[in-house]
């Protein structure tokens, strides 16, 4: 394992030091408990949008703190949910009096820790509502599992919920918009290589030289099946097919197409994959009206990608287009 780190136990806090230094115009970082808030938090009278989860998925979530997106993010240890006290502290720091929306990815750890934090925040008279994103169609049988995982859809969810809060929606309205995103977004990912969690020092799984893991989560959790590596045309079709069928997306739908890298795949390959996905959608009469290509929700240095499709209506499109200024996503300002 070769990583640009010092002590594996300090990776997250040392990275936060760097993040704080690089983005002092944008964010403030609190250490112990660790959280990141907008530099101008709390924004009085605005609903605050707070998310969090294990580290190692950067830019998610800290890279999405700023104007028009998240008010605060709570980074746990690498691939480990943050603890309720940290979520509570971030919730308090972000709360501008209009309530706080928790955006939680559907992993048992995230759900339990955010639930506990919400109870604690309630006890302090902070209005908290929570949405759980579970867009990973790779999990076929949600009755016999912990349910579908939250993956790529988290990025447009945080952007759009943040925009709704920025335009002045109240907590119920921001929550409703967030639920609308969750209802209309689906994703699936594939891993070409594993990643190595710093404190573990061992690959999260082992793949043969010609093997891939189809339907991977964002922590190297296994997917639907191991299979032989295949050409990009087939690979993208295998990812996009289940995504389209699940909602299902239909002829005439307006969509946001996001092709996301898992951290170790060159942008060149992501654009190549985007071209294939866009072509397949065009053939089905599904219109791609917005797009996002790059590394937005990653698994450390894992090679691989995910495809996310969000069905847009006019309001969601407007909220997606609204100005945003964060370390990881910026436009209009």
């Amino acid at each position: 394992m070769k990583k640009i780190i010092n002590d594996p136990g300090n990776v997250v806090s040392e990275a936060l030091i760097g993040f704080a230094a690089a983005h002092r115009d944008l964010v403030r970082v609190n250490f112990g408990p660790d959280y990141i808030v907008r530099a101008d938090a709390p924004v009085s009278g605005k609903v605050a949008v707070v998310s969090g989860g294990g580290s190692g998925h950067e830019p998610l979530h800290g890279g999405f703190v700023g104007v028009g997106m998240l008010d605060a993010a709570v980074p746990g240890a690498v691939f480990t949910s943050p603890t309720p006290d940290a979520v509570l502290a971030a919730t308090q720091a972000a709360n501008g009096g209009a309530g706080v929306l928790h955006i939680v990815k559907n992993y048992t750890g995230d759900v339990l820790n955010f639930e506990t934090a919400a109870e604690l925040a309630g006890a302090e008279d902070i209005d908290v509502s929570a949405v759980v994103i579970n867009d990973d169609v790779a999990v076929e049988d949600s009755t016999y599992t912990a349910g579908r995982r939250g993956v790529g859809g988290t990025v447009p969810l945080e952007k759009i919920a943040g925009a709704a809060a920025a335009r002045g929606d109240d907590l119920a309205a921001v929550t409703a918009i967030a639920e609308r995103v969750i209802g209309n977004v689906r994703s699936m990912g594939v891993a070409l290589t594993p990643c190595i969690v710093p404190h573990s020092g061992e690959p999260s799984f082992v793949l043969a030289d010609d093997q891939i893991e189809m339907g991977i989560g964002i922590h190297g959790e296994p997917g639907r099946r191991r299979m032989k590596m295949e050409p990009a045309d087939d690979l993208v079709a295998d990812l996009l097919g289940p995504v389209v069928q699940d909602l299902p997306f239909e002829r005439g739908d307006q969509t946001l197409l996001m092709v996301n890298g898992m951290g170790g795949t060159p942008l060149l390959e992501l654009y190549l994959a985007y071209g294939i996905a866009a072509g397949l959608l065009e053939k089905q009469g599904i219109e791609v009206s917005r797009s996002l290509v790059g590394n937005y929700i990653t698994s450390l240095e894992m090679q691989g990608m995910s495809v996310t499709l969000l069905r847009l209506d006019d309001e969601l499109t407007q909220l997606w287009d609204a100005p945003v200024h964060t370390a990881g996503l910026r436009w209009g300002m």
Binding site: P33, L112, Y144, E221
Partner: protein
């Protein structure tokens, strides 16, 4: 417990647990790598190290206060699924023992039952889901005896045996559930850490 079942005795037993977790954390992480995300040992070890630091700073607490301190510390340092679950377990145990100065066999049995109730309330897992519940249920059932040592010994033995019973199970809760059939053939990390914790408590109680 070596120092009896007063506050210092409980604190000493918790230190024994921390030592056992430190000892086993590589193995717990290895198990979690097989069917999870490879952090369970690290998570638990981080938590119990923090517990020991707090126990060093704050001595002379009653049993319930010690358990509550363990609960709050695990809750705020472990993270992941196991953090709030073990946190809730110790919190319910603390509530169950109340402000007594000295634990007896009945109190320990009641604490274990309360802990199990807390884990199930939070995590919604039932026996057979391949989680720590699969170790806690037989442990709570077996927790009978005339002395604290006997109760814990019985619970620890039951938890220990339960670990092997999780091997053939297909996980239905937690991260391992995403493996589906592929989760069979591996022991559950959380059930294993439950056995480690109860084993250390039982050892400590023998004195």
């Amino acid at each position: 417990m070596s120092g009896g079942c007063d506050g210092p005795g409980v604190a000493a037993a918790i230190r024994a647990v921390a030592a056992a977790i430190a000892d086993q954390h590589v193995e717990l992480t290895r198990l979690d790598r097989e069917i999870g995300d490879g952090d369970h040992g690290e998570n638990m070890n981080r938590g119990f190290k923090a517990v020991v630091a707090k126990l060093d700073a704050d001595q002379g607490m009653a049993p319930g206060a010690v358990l509550k301190l363990v609960a709050m510390t695990l809750m705020s340092t472990v993270g992941g699924a196991s953090g709030p679950l073990y946190g809730t377990a110790f919190l319910r145990a603390a509530t169950a023992v109340g402000d007594t100065d000295q634990l007896d066999a009945a109190a320990v049995g009641a604490a274990l039952a309360a802990a199990l109730g807390g884990v199930q309330a939070r995590g919604k897992a039932v026996p057979g889901d391949k989680t720590m519940v699969d170790a806690l249920v037989p442990a709570a059932e077996a927790a009978q005896g005339d002395s604290v040592a006997e109760v814990l010994q019985a619970a620890a033995a039951a938890a220990h045996d339960a670990v092997a019973t999780t091997i053939p199970l297909v996980a239905r809760k937690g991260r391992a559930s995403y493996l589906g059939e592929r989760s069979a053939g591996h022991a559950d990390p959380g059930a294993t850490s439950t056995a480690v914790i109860l084993g250390a408590l039982a050892e400590a109680a023998k004195g």
